[in-house]
């Protein structure tokens, strides 16, 4: 067999060396965790998973605190996880005797959620902490696991604060809510399911605002002509009744 030309031998040595070099780097030098996923180290995920847990999650609490769970899961606080009020309790769930979760009893705690703020969604129970039984800790009257108003608020403003505030400066301030809103008793128990009614015809507002009405102070219009005979629109679709424009 003829001898291979020198340059071929030389170049094949170089290429063999290169291939071996690549294999050595891939197999032995590049760490395993960089190989698995291309650009990032998989051990970064392991590091992330090894991080300490502080919040135990509410499911585990039921195992020991059944009484509180029973009280809570039918009440207004049923959507609250235990750790919303009791703070991070993972340690306690692992070693119940070593760590005691906090149990806030002070008055300043509940207003974190329940102070009136106009940015909060309507219907969320809110109070003015300066006016609502000052200095009295909330838990004296409200059991936190099943909180409820001592008596169902007589005033609708208990929940509909922003409407009450607007109404206070409107000419309709003297009207009671039930004058216009036919409110079933169940609305106080299931406010989002049983809803109060609204006037369904122009004649309703006409009781005060129609020409010839007995109410002397209310501005009068001819209900049969105004607003396309009341056939197309109801009064409150143009005039916001909680703050109707006077002119």
């Amino acid at each position: 067999m003829k001898k291979l030309p020198d340059q071929i031998i030389r170049i094949s040595i170089i290429f063999t060396a290169l291939i071996l070099f690549t294999i050595v780097i891939r197999v032995f030098i590049i760490p395993e965790d960089l190989k698995e996923k291309g650009i990032f180290r998989t051990s970064a995920i392991k590091q992330e998973l090894a991080k300490e847990i502080h919040y135990a999650g509410s499911e585990i609490c039921v195992d020991c605190h059944e009484e509180q769970y029973d009280a809570k899961h039918n009440g207004y606080h049923k959507e609250l996880s235990c750790e919303v009020c009791h703070g991070p309790s993972y340690e306690h769930s692992e070693e119940p005797d070593d760590a005691t979760p906090e149990a806030p009893r002070k008055r300043k705690f509940c207003p974190v959620c329940h102070t009136y703020n106009l940015s909060r969604p309507t219907g969320f129970p809110q109070i003015n902490p300066f006016a609502h039984n000052p200095l009295e800790p909330c838990i004296n009257c409200h059991e936190p696991h099943d909180p409820r108003p001592l008596e169902t608020p007589k005033e609708c403003a208990g929940c509909h604060r922003s409407i009450a505030t607007t109404l206070a400066v409107s000419p309709h301030v003297k009207l009671e809510c039930i004058t216009c809103h036919n409110t079933p008793e169940d609305h106080k128990i299931n406010p989002r399911i049983v809803r109060p009614g609204k006037p369904t015809e122009s004649k309703f507002c006409g009781k005060c605002h129609a020409d010839g009405s007995s109410n002397r102070e209310a501005p009068k219009i001819d209900i049969s002509v105004h607003g396309e005979n009341g056939e197309k629109y109801l009064c409150w679709q143009c005039h916001y009744p909680h703050l109707p424009e006077v002119d």
Partner: protein
């Protein structure tokens, strides 16, 4: 390979053109073979990666009309993830939007939403107002991961964007690149830090800390791949919007009742 008989060089010691081309093609064969070996090696590690795969895609939903702005989520996140306690490092925070009758928009975020809310504004000046919780959007197309010069920010199989603390060199490019301002420079670690969707918790079947402590269920956590997850249900029942969709980052924090003024 080299056993294939080569033609004898005819031009003495100097190679003629034909032989040069032949040699070139032979070298190419060798190169291809080398590549084949490395592909085989790579293939074996790919199967290892496959064993890791879960068909899960975690994301978060936020119901604006349920948020009461109590900032429990902000506090819980700081505790769970050892976020520095100073009031300018946040993985999640709550903004308060106030839209005035003259169309002026006021955005307030004192201490990440945990600070005292201002009361200076007269209620009669205000047209509408609401709270918007914000956090890392865990984009499907994360700009932060694209700009990282060392590949320290990456997306996991579950679509969660994480930072590798050991690889991060603290150059802050990602902090600049994030259109949602969801990242900050950790003052002690000197690396970029952000929401991990509580990766260490969700892999154990727990909820992210912010979701766990949200008193009104404004935050909904779930797996986008599962039809029965609370998040899929939310996406089915409600009108959904994301922040800055025009940037094509494909964010995975889904808002319901999001106001057009929210940027």
């Amino acid at each position: 390979m080299l056993a294939v008989p080569l033609s004898t060089p005819t031009g003495g010691r100097l190679m003629n053109r034909l032989n040069f081309v032949k040699l070139l093609s032979k070298s190419a064969i060798i190169l291809v073979t080398g590549n084949f070996f490395s592909t085989v090696l790579k293939g074996s590690s790919d199967t290892a990666a496959k064993a890791y795969t879960h068909m899960k895609r975690y994301a978060l939903g936020i119901q604006i009309d349920k948020c009461i702005g109590c900032a429990n989520c902000v506090k819980a996140c700081k505790i769970e993830n050892n976020v520095p306690r100073q009031p300018f490092y946040f993985r999640t925070w709550v903004e308060r939007y106030i839209i005035k009758k003259n169309d002026e928009v006021v955005v307030e975020c004192k201490e990440g939403g945990a600070g005292k809310l201002s009361t200076e504004l007269e209620e009669r000046e205000i047209l509408r107002s609401f709270f918007v919780p914000k956090l890392c959007n865990h984009c499907d197309n994360p700009p932060c991961a694209q700009v990282c010069p060392v590949g320290a920010t990456f997306k996991t199989e579950e679509g969660i964007v994480l930072v590798d603390d050991d690889r991060c060199i603290g150059c802050s490019y990602c902090i600049q690149a994030c259109p949602y301002g969801a990242r900050y420079m950790h003052p002690e670690k000197k690396t970029a830090d952000k929401c991990t969707l509580c990766y260490h918790r969700i892999k154990q079947g727990l909820l992210p800390a912010c979701v766990e402590v949200c008193p009104t269920q404004a935050r909904v956590f779930g797996d986008l791949e599962s039809n029965a997850s609370p998040l899929t249900r939310l996406k089915r029942m409600k009108k959904i919007h994301v922040l800055k969709p025009e940037l094509n980052t494909k964010p995975k924090v889904f808002y319901t009742d999001l106001d057009g003024e929210v940027k």
